[in-house]
């Protein structure tokens, strides 16, 4: 091959420079929030005027924040677990072509991704007001299942599509029951894809404002909704401190997922 063909599809210096600037642009707000969290002033300043950990101490001793964090974690773990079971079961049945109309059913299962989140929020607000579920943990949990389950169905279907049915049939021939064959053969094979899907589901739940904000009760809020309403009241470094904790947690989760499951293959 000549030098021209070698060079033809390599990004040049200009493209590389622009691309790296875009990467920097993507990290800017993250860096700003982390720096602001350590400032000694009671308003946001960057670079910080002196360094302190007082905002972290303030946030972590504030019962409002602690109960919001607890609520967010309950919803995220709860809805991810429910979605994982329901979504994997449904995807498996679709994959085995057990019932007719699987394409239409798949579209129905993915529909919550297409509808604007704010519309799902107001629809559930009206529905929960009529049925008395407004502000209940059960209602919130079901709302979070609705918005997280498409990610599980999608990743389960994607993992299953690469699977050879003969492996499971072999297990059946050797005497395993249908469920045993799934649990011992299929499940381990699709596990990495499911982990990636579960991670997306967990983060989607933890991140959600546009549905949750319509459904929470006055006394019990979630962390992103609390930050959202604190910012409307005015910005101070304790918001930056709690945000920094979220940034660190997200970073750690992402690195673990990459080390354990090669996460970048699933995005």
């Amino acid at each position: 091959m000549s030098a021209t063909t070698e060079k033809a599809d390599k990004p040049g210096l200009a493209v590389t420079t622009v691309a790296l600037l875009v990467v920097v642009f993507l990290q800017i707000p993250v860096v700003v929030v982390v720096l602001a969290a350590f400032s000694t002033t009671s308003y946001l300043t960057i670079p910080p005027q002196g360094w302190t950990l007082q905002w972290f101490a303030k946030v972590l001793s504030d019962p409002t924040y602690l109960s919001a964090i607890r609520m967010s974690l309950i919803l995220a773990f709860g809805s991810t677990a429910i979605s994982l079971v329901l979504g994997t079961a449904a995807a498996y049945a679709l994959f085995r072509k057990a019932i007719p109309g699987s394409e239409a059913i798949t579209s129905f299962l993915m529909a919550p991704l297409i509808l604007p989140a704010v519309v799902i929020g107001v629809a559930l607000l009206q529905y929960f007001s009529m049925t008395g579920l407004r502000g209940s943990l059960f209602g919130l949990l079901m709302a979070h299942v609705i918005i997280t389950v498409p990610y599980i169905v999608r990743s389960a279907l994607a993992s299953l599509s690469g699977l050879d049915l003969a492996v499971e049939e072999a297990a059946r021939v050797l005497g395993a029951s249908g469920f045993e064959a799934f649990r011992l053969v299929t499940l381990p094979l699709i596990a990495p894809g499911l982990v990636a899907g579960a991670l997306f589901a967990f983060i989607t739940s933890l991140d959600n404002v546009p549905v949750t904000i319509f459904l929470i009760s006055a006394s019990q809020t979630t962390l992103p909704v609390l930050i959202f309403s604190s910012v409307e009241m005015g910005v101070d470094p304790s918001v930056a401190a709690i945000s920094t904790l979220l940034i660190v947690a997200t970073g750690i989760i992402l690195l673990i997922a990459e080390r354990r499951a090669g996460f970048h293959r699933f995005v």
């Binding site: 040049g12 590389t16 700003v32 799902i120 107001v122 389950v149 991140d207 959202f228 910012v231 979220l246």
Partner: protein, 283 residues
């Protein structure tokens, strides 16, 4: 082959949850959008009207908000394309060892809480924020630029939020372009730019369309970032819906606007799938 009964038992739980907590609530919103708003108490019982919808297409305020929402969607999509393509190209065609770190640096902000990212932009863009302070210190401006509560702020914030989605779609698209076609064009004497515009760009067009549709639909549906960076005055469709429900308690108008927004999102997705099918037919 799995038995139909087993299949039904596996699918039924999820189908029931989706029917009960998604399909029925959305369908029950439909009658509300034809109701009449009664200030203070909600809806006049037994009255059906089209007024909530006619107001959306005739009232100047609603029209301004709708055009602003669509314009914002268009601008943000273009900005994501222009900024995203070089980065996607570098990830797809750059040094192999850069690939995973770059993907992780794109995914990290995407996984990060939306509220946190929007909050970061508030710290950067307010009158006494980092950007204005920097420009004043450099002597480039004397009074702070207005970067928030207007189109500029929303453009910057939303572009940042949806750029990772675009980049990931484009990486997949560029990887699908067969490299021998590019090499062939180059061997036949095409310049680098010509190879790009006549081979790489057209062959990655389906991915460009898919990424653009995704970013456009996400942008016109966005609530959190427009609310945080637009404040209570500079509104888009989603924030008007929010206010009508939470502050004015005007559920009929809010639900009519909700269905208008849903219709716009679905129409865009439907049009693009038609377009993709026609392209596939031509190839």
């Amino acid at each position: 082959m799995m038995k139909t009964r087993t299949g039904l038992m596996l699918i039924a739980p999820l189908a029931l949850v989706l029917a009960g907590f998604f399909l029925v609530p959305v369908l029950m919103l439909l009658p509300t959008s034809f109701g009449e708003y009664l200030p203070g108490s909600g809806m006049t019982p037994g009255v059906w009207t089209l007024e909530n919808y006619t107001r959306i297409v005739t009232d100047d305020y609603y029209l301004e908000v709708i055009w602003r929402t669509l314009g914002l969607g268009l601008f943000v999509t273009l900005a994501c394309l222009v900024l995203g393509y070089p980065l996607a190209y570098l990830i797809a065609r750059g040094p192999q060892s850069w690939r995973v770190p770059l993907i992780l640096l794109v995914v990290f902000p995407m996984m990060l809480n939306l509220v946190v990212r929007s909050f970061g932009w508030i710290a950067l863009l307010t009158n006494r924020g980092l950007v204005n302070n920097l420009l004043i210190d450099l002597g480039l401006i004397s009074t702070p630029l207005k970067l928030m509560f207007n189109l500029t702020g929303l453009m910057i914030g939303l572009t940042h939020i949806y750029l990772p989605f675009m980049v990931l779609m484009l990486v997949a698209a560029i990887q699908n372009v067969p490299r021998d076609v590019e090499s062939a064009a180059a061997t036949l004497g095409s310049s680098r730019i010509h190879v790009f515009t006549s081979v790489t760009l057209p062959l990655s067009a389906p991915g460009i369309l898919a990424g653009s549709i995704l970013v456009f639909v996400l942008t016109i549906s966005a609530l959190v970032t427009p609310r945080m960076l637009g404040g209570p005055t500079y509104k888009v469709m989603a924030t008007v819906i929010y206010d009508e429900y939470m502050q004015l308690l005007d559920w009929p108008s809010g639900s009519a606007l909700s269905f208008t927004l849903t219709f716009m999102a679905i129409a865009v997705i439907w049009l693009s799938s038609r377009l993709t099918k026609r392209w596939a037919g031509m190839a």
